[in-house]
Subunit: 168 residues, 2 copies
């Protein structure tokens, strides 16, 4: 009896309900979420971050690394804690960040002579060179943001600063 053959191809035994017409599912509505500043803040930061990282991709330096190098350049002999405060990162995040920059030869770390708990940080010549390059990328990146912000840029940045300061 060929009865056994009916097994496969005839019908997929697993589908109980009708296949239903192929309707490309509509993209979801964001609804009330769109009105929340916090949500829009995250989307914007995310987009900005991603573009910066992609652009400076060759150098493999993310925005956070760039910020650290900038602070190091403008504050020779700064300590790790102070650096962390400046770029708003926990000290336990600063440690591996600096180990990486040191491994790349961009930063030098020395025990402070006045406080043996602290580490004194300085940009190396190589670090200054890399930073010089990154600044060009950062400026171009920020120019795009400037364009998008338009004439309200000053007020826009002022609000961002107030949020960072007053939200704690």
């Amino acid at each position: 009896m060929p009865a056994t053959v009916k097994v496969e191809s005839g019908k997929r035994p697993r589908r109980e309900t009708a296949p239903a017409r192929r309707v490309p599912p509509p993209e979801p509505k964001l609804g009330a979420l769109q009105g929340f500043i916090g949500f829009n803040l995250r989307l914007a930061q995310d987009a900005s971050f991603r573009v910066f990282a992609r652009k400076s991709g060759q150098r493999d330096i993310m925005p956070g690394r760039f910020a650290a190098l900038m602070v190091l350049r403008d504050n020779p002999n700064i300590t790790q804690s102070a650096l962390g405060r400046a770029i708003a990162r926990d000290k336990s995040s600063v440690t591996p960040l600096l180990q990486d920059l040191q491994r790349r030869g961009l930063v030098k770390r020395m025990r402070s002579t006045t406080d043996r708990r602290s580490v004194t940080l300085t940009l190396t010549a190589a670090g200054a060179r890399v930073l010089q390059d990154l600044i060009l990328h950062a400026r171009e990146h920020d120019r795009k943001l400037d364009e998008i912000a338009g004439p309200s840029k000053a007020e826009f940045v002022a609000i961002l600063r107030r949020i960072a300061d007053h939200m704690v």
Copy 2:
């Protein structure tokens, strides 16, 4: 800042260089960094996120969870991919996020009847209740942001949206 001045005091055998006068190290200058929109964007997002998470702390629901629940409420039977697109998260981040929400009983996941690859998501009654509560917190949180933004809020949000959309 020659922190080194030689000194007498006792003789801690380990100290070669002098202790030097105690100068509270000046807080670092942010310098050019302050002018970059991208940097300010990160600080603001960070602050906003942290406050939201702390406020809704009891429920242990971070802003990302809140956004997901909102989209689920407004788009019944949405798929994971569509959700990910809506809240700008990779599908591989959406998987564990939803497993967590399911484990908490806030979301139900079912294989789609029309496309057996997809998962169909719906908010449970418990999920709707929790969301209801979270919305109150989110509104209060955003009210603070509104205050900070002041009368420029509309333009501020418009810029954030343009950044999210046009930076890609």
